[in-house]
């Protein structure tokens, strides 16, 4: 789609806002509707849009498959690692209160933030991975 100037320009303008909105949904998840799942998908949508307009190779430059793969893994690890941390702190698995024994509420706040971040990273990178795998099939 190299010759569709309007699409190229408009998408370039929109893209930062898409990503920003993704981040907003991610971190506002504690207070309002939102959270890792939705944020991840929105964030990935930015990449997919980029790919649609500028081609797969461009996406792969920004987000190399191997990096995406590692991100998938590390998102899950972040999630599960938090759970393990709570266990190390003497609580149950994913008992966020244990993160800050003095102020359990604060610990829960922190815990849910980190866990949602993990979810967000995983969802976003999985979506990107799915897109780039399907789009790259038969061309690579």
């Amino acid at each position: 789609m190299t010759d569709h100037t309007i699409l190229r320009v408009v998408s370039k303008v929109i893209l930062p806002y898409v990503l920003l909105f993704g981040l907003y949904v991610q971190f506002h998840g504690d207070y309002g509707p939102g959270g890792g799942f939705q944020a991840g998908v929105i964030f990935a949508a930015g990449f997919v849009l980029y790919g649609l307009i500028y081609g797969l190779a461009a996406v792969r430059r920004v987000a190399p498959p191997r990096v995406i793969e590692i991100l998938v893994a590390s998102g899950v690890l972040l999630y599960a690692g938090t759970g393990v941390l709570t266990m190390l702190r003497g609580g149950n698995f994913l008992d966020y209160g244990a993160l800050n024994p003095l102020h359990p509420a604060e610990g829960q706040h922190l815990g849910i933030l980190v866990v949602e971040l993990g979810v967000g990273i995983t969802v976003a990178s999985v979506m990107i991975a799915i897109y780039s795998t399907f789009a790259g099939r038969g061309r690579a």
Partner: protein
């Protein structure tokens, strides 16, 4: 009687979608269409859960002044997970279809079976 038909309309919708999806899965020989049918089938269940969670006159389950009736948030949470599972299933299915197409040059079930008989 009328109450059953109109009062429970969302259940009728669920059942209609469910049967539609199920029928597509069974009757279509094209693998992509099968996946679409599967999606419709799953979606009907999502709707069923949402219906279960709805409390008449309730609002979104976020604590704020002036409201004391809230919709049950649990089914929505559950269904979020189910949607993720659905997405994952669809993507695995599509991935398999892509590879089936590469291996057999077709995504029609009959033709795949025919090729298997020959080889």
């Amino acid at each position: 009687m009328m109450d059953n038909v109109f009062g429970l309309y969302n259940y009728w919708v669920v059942i209609f979608l469910m049967m539609t999806g199920f029928y597509i899965v069974i009757s279509q020989r094209n693998l992509i269409k099968k996946v679409i049918g599967l999606n419709i089938f799953q979606t009907s269940v999502f709707l069923l859960y949402i219906t279960i969670g709805k409390v008449e006159g309730g609002t979104a389950p976020i604590v704020s002044e002036g409201f004391n009736v809230y919709t049950n948030p649990l089914p929505s949470v559950l269904i979020l997970t189910a949607i993720v599972v659905g997405v994952a299933t669809t993507s695995v299915a599509l991935a398999l279809i892509v590879r089936i197409r590469e291996a057999y040059e077709t995504i029609e079930e009959d033709e795949i079976l025919a090729q298997e008989k020959l080889t």
